[in-house]
């Protein structure tokens, strides 16, 4: 209990909340890296996932590839890219993109696949183009699953963004690594608690979005 209290006291210390290395600055950096990672991954993974889900083709290779990507250890990727691209933001963000892609991909193709094929058939029979089917039928009906994929990716990335500070960037990982190396355990635990809190907040916020985007009036068979 004492360690937990010391860590909470560290967080509550008012000097931590202003200045260049302060908690709000690191929190914002942490969020920004998460947004970069998930955002860029979404630009790549969601179109591919929607295509796979809509055409029902190519699912096998895509699932296999994303499974392989899940197995890649992010710290190893950060170090590898750091050696190729130098320290800075590009290397870790690339690693986070690779981390986020599997969940986003899965969210996108399961969003399409979850729609009742009879509904899609009916839409096709009415003369809708494939693009119209995708945007007016499949995505609106499957949106909660898509957001679910974004949520899973975001939580995974926010928990891993601490690695960005391994090679010279900011984020809450600064507290964790500095605390670890200095044996300043209140700082290390405090940083960890902040990451956990951030992950929970993001999870709850996106769950809310999921609930709100559930299409009203969708028939539940």
């Amino acid at each position: 209990m004492t360690q937990l209290l010391e860590a909470l006291a560290w967080i509550a210390d008012p000097t931590r909340w202003s200045g260049p290395g302060s908690i709000p600055v690191r929190l914002l950096e942490h969020l920004w890296y998460t947004l970069l990672g998930v955002g860029i991954a979404a630009l790549v993974a969601i179109p591919v996932g929607l295509l796979v889900g809509h055409t029902r083709r190519g699912r096998g290779p895509v699932v296999a590839l994303s499974g392989a990507a899940r197995a890649l250890p992010t710290l190893g990727l950060v170090t590898l890219f750091g050696l190729w691209l130098g320290i800075g933001l590009t290397a870790p963000v690339l690693a986070f993109v690779i981390l986020a892609i599997p969940s986003l991909l899965a969210g996108a193709y399961s969003a399409c696949e979850a729609v009742d094929p009879r509904t899609v058939d009916a839409a096709r029979a009415q003369g809708m183009t494939e693009w119209q089917i995708l945007t007016r039928v499949e995505v609106p009906l499957g949106l909660p699953l898509l957001i679910g994929g974004v949520r899973l990716a975001a939580v995974q990335v926010v928990a891993t963004v601490m690695l960005a500070s391994y090679i010279g960037n900011g984020g809450l990982g600064r507290f964790i690594f500095l605390g670890l190396n200095l044996s300043d355990y209140p700082q290390m635990l405090g940083g960890s608690i902040l990451v956990v809190a951030l992950a929970l907040v993001i999870d709850l916020a996106l769950r809310l979005v999921e609930r709100l985007t559930a299409p009203r009036g969708a028939a539940r068979t």
């Binding site: 209990m1 360690q3 750091g82 050696l83 130098g86 391994y166 010279g168 500095l178 190396n181 068979t221």
Partner: protein
């Protein structure tokens, strides 16, 4: 359309409200129970991590336990000691790549480890920061007082492996840099170093107070390894904290800035031993430390980094070359 089937009940949320509450409740109770414990998970129980027994007697076989830090160069030095000790007739157990001081110091104190190659400055800084100034001999004397009972340092070697302010040849010639003091007045200086370098007395605070140089630390957590080197070489930082026994300084034509005020603590290699190391063992160890200079250490490190040999091979070759085996 197929004939109508009995409508299935609507698919509610995957986790029903009741079971969600139960899960959350269990989670809270478990977290509370864990948090209520006053046991310090970060305190090392003696012998729990190194596998040695907690009665201070080392492994039951009576072998001497030699440990090393999580640093390839330290492991090579430990292997040198291990091989001369085995050659002198002692039985030896190796436990390399242990970790930081707060992990292995309790092991040394409890007797789970008997010998570990240390560095004078960092060891004294860990034990008694205020005493950590002066020459290598001053530090050795101060260590005699600062070390807990049962531990002592044997005579240190000439070889050092200390932090440094290292820069590229181009940057040094552009700004006429030969010593750390020449950095005063140069703007936008960044040094790639471990995050804790920020807090060290020979870090940016020391550089400012002793040499009037303004330097910001860019934390790269690989202890002067390839990422730190890369940051220096591609110009992201102007300086890097690369250890003086690192072969990459010579390989990349880097310039280590001089430290005339001895701000950076001397880090001579010094064997840290427990009481189980007797006169004979100490004498065997001394044959190594008498011959180990910084050049020799760099050569040993080069074999590991460039030729990718393992510590046992490197140690054997070096000891044979120096005629220290077969006594």
């Amino acid at each position: 359309m197929t004939a109508s089937r009995t409508p299935r009940p609507s698919r509610g949320p995957a986790l029903g409200r009741r079971s969600f509450a139960a899960l959350a409740g269990t989670g809270l109770v478990a977290a509370g129970a864990a948090a209520c414990s006053n046991e310090d998970p970060l305190a090392k129980e003696s012998g729990s991590s190194s596998g040695g027994s907690s009665d201070g007697g080392g492994p039951a076989t009576g072998a001497l336990v030699i440990g090393s830090q999580q640093y390839y160069s330290n492991e090579i030095i430990a292997e040198l000691f291990a091989q001369v000790l085995e050659d002198s007739g002692a039985s030896v157990e190796r436990q390399y790549q242990i970790g930081q001081r707060d992990v292995y110091m309790p092991e040394l104190e409890s007797g789970a480890i008997d010998l570990l190659p240390e560095y004078l400055g960092n060891l004294l800084q860990y034990l008694d920061e205020s005493a950590a100034t002066g020459t290598a001999d001053d530090l050795a004397i101060a260590l005699g007082e600062a070390l807990p009972d049962g531990l002592r340092v044997l005579p240190h070697a000439e070889a050092t492996d200390q932090d440094s302010y290292t820069t590229t040849k181009d940057f040094a010639s552009q700004n006429q840099l030969a010593a750390i003091g020449d950095l005063a007045g140069v703007e936008d200086l960044k040094i790639a170093a471990n995050p804790e370098f920020e807090e060290r007395p020979y870090g940016p605070q020391g550089a400012k107070s002793v040499y009037d140089a303004d330097i910001t630390v860019v934390p790269v957590s690989d202890s002067g390894g390839p990422l730190t080197l890369q940051a220096l070489l591609d110009g992201t930082t102007q300086l890097a904290d690369i250890y003086t026994a690192d072969p990459s300084i010579a390989e990349n034509d880097l310039v280590t800035l001089e430290d005339p005020e001895s701000m950076i603590l001397p880090q001579n290699v010094a064997p840290l031993v427990s009481e189980r190391i007797d006169e004979d063992a100490a004498a065997a160890i001394k044959t190594v430390t008498d011959v180990l200079t910084t050049e020799e250490l760099i050569a040993l490190n080069t074999k590991s980094v460039t030729d990718k040999q393992d510590s046992a091979t490197i140690a054997k070759a070096w000891l044979t070359e120096k005629g220290l085996l077969g006594s």
